[in-house]
Symmetry: C2
Subunit: 544 residues, 2 copies
């Protein structure tokens, strides 16, 4: 809600009766409404653009000559926990890349701590600079068979429907099987955008999913899959994550005809990739390099998500809109020079002025399992193996044979009952040692892959001690670790430290012989039961 006083101030700035709080002078504006590039000044009043024109006086001015101004970008679907840092650190990392809005599903932390996690993210959002829309995590646990740290049923979620949208609805079997709790959730959130998650779902099942109100999908891996979903009325999110990298395959869709129904997102993106490649700016750069129309691409980064989520005051550089803008030295390359969020320049001063982050105490000490021994990591009994591939969340159901077989184990870590599931994996290229992680989508049990049981036990026990994180062990001894004490998912340290530790961890992981660039991400998705085709669950190898 805006106040009459705020409206009056905007009128006065627009009519040049008082100086703007900030004038951005001489930029070339990329107008996503018309596609025009025009030289103009922006007069900002408080958090909003009050006027676009020329010759405004300002209490502060920014010389933007030679730069191109575009509206701030939106990450239309992300799990901040996947960047291993708190929401406060997430924006310190991502805002400088031009990400001024994000829609997050806090379902990683929610799988550990339930509604307390949702409430904490919402409190974080209040203190943050960027617009963080916290969704109601729809599938905690991801499937009823999962043993997670919490259960969010329809009764728990319904009170959130007044001001939140429903996060990615992964329980497709629950829809098709008309599970009463599933239908109650969907009914409670009807009329709001309901996020989808429907990899390879098509035909009758896709019709059913859309018919119950699922409005978008970020799991498309081919143009044909995306086109079918567009035809069924879905908005398609083009994903540029650390594991799920679908943008290159889907870039041909980024046309003026379709771009209003396309958004960009990261889903899960680790801090090293953000530091080295970028965030939504990277997705823009990549799509334009692949030949997509820049207007279509920038629309999908800024205007389309605002339209999809019903934010009337984001996505354009126009009066009345929130002053979220990115100054670029190169439009096609999406080279971000300066970022303004709600009318303020993004930088350490702005971050330091935020209120203290809400208390993290409820998320400490969440790895609750007994000390493990080599005997816990006996060879799996199945004759099938889970095949992983760099850059894809999809796994294969393969015979347990060949010279690239490794053992994997999943240990229940949210308290009783004690359970361990075991399976063969292929594609890691492990020759010795072990990797362990308490990030193990979506229930975040303790997940270990290794070539010898002693190393597996050592890595797992290290995480038990740290309250969660990532660890590498070789010859039965831990050689590298990244503690993630908040829910076993997030560090309490600055993002720079986390990125450094992660880089060190990856180097250490190479000693195991792994051929994956980012083995901890593949490890983290190994247990995810809502993505085809083969998974590691507490029951062991599972075909899904």
């Amino acid at each position: 809600m805006r106040t009459p006083e705020e409206l009056a101030a905007c009128v006065d700035v627009a009519l040049r009766r008082r100086p703007a709080d900030l004038v951005v002078r001489g930029a070339r504006l990329f107008d996503l409404a018309t596609g025009e590039l025009t030289l103009a000044d922006l007069a900002v009043c408080g958090e909003r653009i009050a006027a676009v024109g020329e010759g405004y006086e300002g209490l502060a001015t920014v010389d933007a000559r030679g730069l191109t101004a575009v509206p701030g970008f939106t990450d239309a679907h992300c799990h901040m926990e996947s960047s291993l840092v708190t929401p406060y650190e997430w924006e310190r990392m991502s805002l400088p890349h031009g990400v001024t809005s994000a829609v997050c599903d806090p379902h990683e932390l929610a799988n550990v701590r339930g509604t307390e996690a949702l409430a904490w993210f919402r409190r974080c959002a209040e203190g943050m600079l960027l617009r963080l829309q916290v969704q109601a995590s729809s599938c905690v646990p991801a499937l009823p068979s999962e043993q997670a740290g919490a259960v969010l049923d329809a009764q728990a979620l319904a009170p959130l429907a007044s001001d939140a949208s429903l996060a990615e609805f992964m329980n497709v079997p629950g829809v098709l099987g008309k599970d009463p709790d599933v239908l109650n959730k969907l009914a409670a959130f009807s009329g709001r955008p309901v996020d989808g998650h429907a990899p390879l779902v098509s035909g009758d099942a896709l019709n059913a999913l859309c018919a119950v109100g699922v409005a978008n999908d970020h799991e498309c891996s081919s143009v044909l899959e995306a086109l079918e979903k567009l035809r069924r009325g879905m908005t398609v999110f083009l994903r540029c994550g650390s594991v799920g990298r679908n943008l290159a395959d889907l870039a041909p869709l980024l046309t003026l005809t379709l771009c209003d129904r396309l958004c960009l997102c990261t889903d899960d993106r680790d801090p090293l990739d953000i530091r080295e490649e970028g965030h939504i700016d990277f997705a823009i750069r990549q799509a334009i390099a692949l030949g997509s129309d820049p207007l279509a691409v920038y629309r999908s980064a800024a205007l389309s998500p605002a339209r999809h989520f019903g934010w009337r005051d984001r996505g354009l550089l126009a009066p009345g809109f929130v002053a979220d803008l990115v100054l670029l030295s190169d439009l096609a390359e999406c080279r971000v020079e300066r970022v303004f969020c709600r009318g303020r320049e993004v930088g350490e001063a702005a971050f330091a002025a935020r209120p203290p982050m809400p208390d993290v105490a409820p998320f400490l000490g969440t790895v609750r399992c007994r000390e493990l021994t080599a005997a816990d990591f006996a060879p799996p009994e199945s004759n099938r193996a889970i095949g992983v591939r760099e850059g894809s969340l999809l796994t294969e159901d393969l015979p347990a044979e060949g010279d690239d077989l490794a053992c994997a184990a999943l240990i229940a870590r949210h308290g009783p009952p004690e359970r361990i599931g075991r399976a063969w994996v292929r594609g890691f290229g492990l020759r010795q040692g072990a990797l362990a992680s308490t990030v193990g989508h979506d229930s975040h049990n303790l997940c270990v892959v290794g070539a010898d049981p002693e190393s597996m036990a050592a890595a797992a026990n290290a995480l038990r001690m740290y309250g969660g994180g990532f660890a590498v062990a070789v010859d039965g001894r831990v050689t590298s670790r990244l503690p993630l004490p908040l829910g076993g998912l997030m560090s309490d340290r600055p993002v720079e430290e986390v990125a450094e530790a992660l880089a060190g961890l990856r180097v250490a992981a190479r000693a195991t012989g792994t051929i994956l660039q980012n083995p901890f991400l593949s490890l983290a998705f190994l247990p995810l039961p809502v993505i085809p085709n083969a998974r590691l669950t507490l029951d062991g190898f599972t075909h899904v």
Copy 2:
């Protein structure tokens, strides 16, 4: 809100576990999301599309082979009172033209009866077949200087902000002058779409108007005017009304680049034009004939308004969307053959099944002025005249000279104080007699134009007797009339009768020598103080 039972039924239809309530078979679907034309069947469950595909069983089927299916159209901005019939009759007239949604500003009746009028329209909407979104009339009276039948200030409107959008905000001077009541209204509705009305507003004033949240405009009369508004972030409504006919001038804007920010509307359209030319179907036909891309045109008719107003379940033929669809025998000509609204075929049976229309008693007997005499219609004192032109709401400020001068008078009719304003008019071509109307935007005082005072008095007194309407008098005697007893604005008769009476009235009006096709519409807009340049107010000739 949808119920879990409704969702379950849709799932069962999509998965072919039970027959659809209705199957539309063999139509060519125009998919506004992708622009594709494909042969497919639609399976309808209750009010919604449950699936798009082939081979569904249905309790009822429609053979649509050879026809093209498009989503139902939206009239994005209309005043139903301008069609001279009740909302129930309005949909009997407009639904067969494919108009399955309408956004109405009931500000004509609100100027007569205030919040009671708004509540009545909302009650009507509950019983209607089409989706009628009733806005909160923002400017009653249109300007503070007006003497209308009611005053809707911020305090009266604020309680409506929870579920209504704010109707066309005409009081631009109030925004620029920071009128407290104006700013309070805009603040109360911030975050919701605020309709605009800003003919020829540009530059700093346009910035100010957009800065306070006005989101669209339906008054553009040129491409340049519309482009400036699009650049300032507005959605532009292309109007195809009876007086305001801007579509032909603006059709070049209807491109794939811009169509997401363009909607079609009628604003004010009389029942004869709807019967003879059509409604939104006419606008579509006209735009395509002028060379616009059919995909852009149909999007502006169906998808763009849904996006603008945030209706997530309208504007596409896709599962989960409301089954509002139009079957056409010709896509480019927009030849409507059959219409389905909320899954039911539109026809007399569906209209007859509506609940009774809410009571009209509060709107009877609203013409409250004394009996008039020839002496009340003395010649005006100003040496300026109001120039009217066929097909435009804009008027000219002209010298009171030439052989086409006529007298006009405006009589306060909502009770004391008694006032009469007089002005010269040019452009009617009157040679004898008089025309009178209680439709006189927006305060709806009694408006008379004539060549002799006796005829003016006779026509005015006839309307006093009927409780409002239109009348023609020649040689001091009434020769034709159309009573509009509901608020002096709407008939209580079926639309067919009203159209016939209106046709008869137009023929009778020709005896006065008028050169206007539709002199009563020009008469009705003569007093409108929010459109440039010259107007008839209770103070007489007024330059605006």
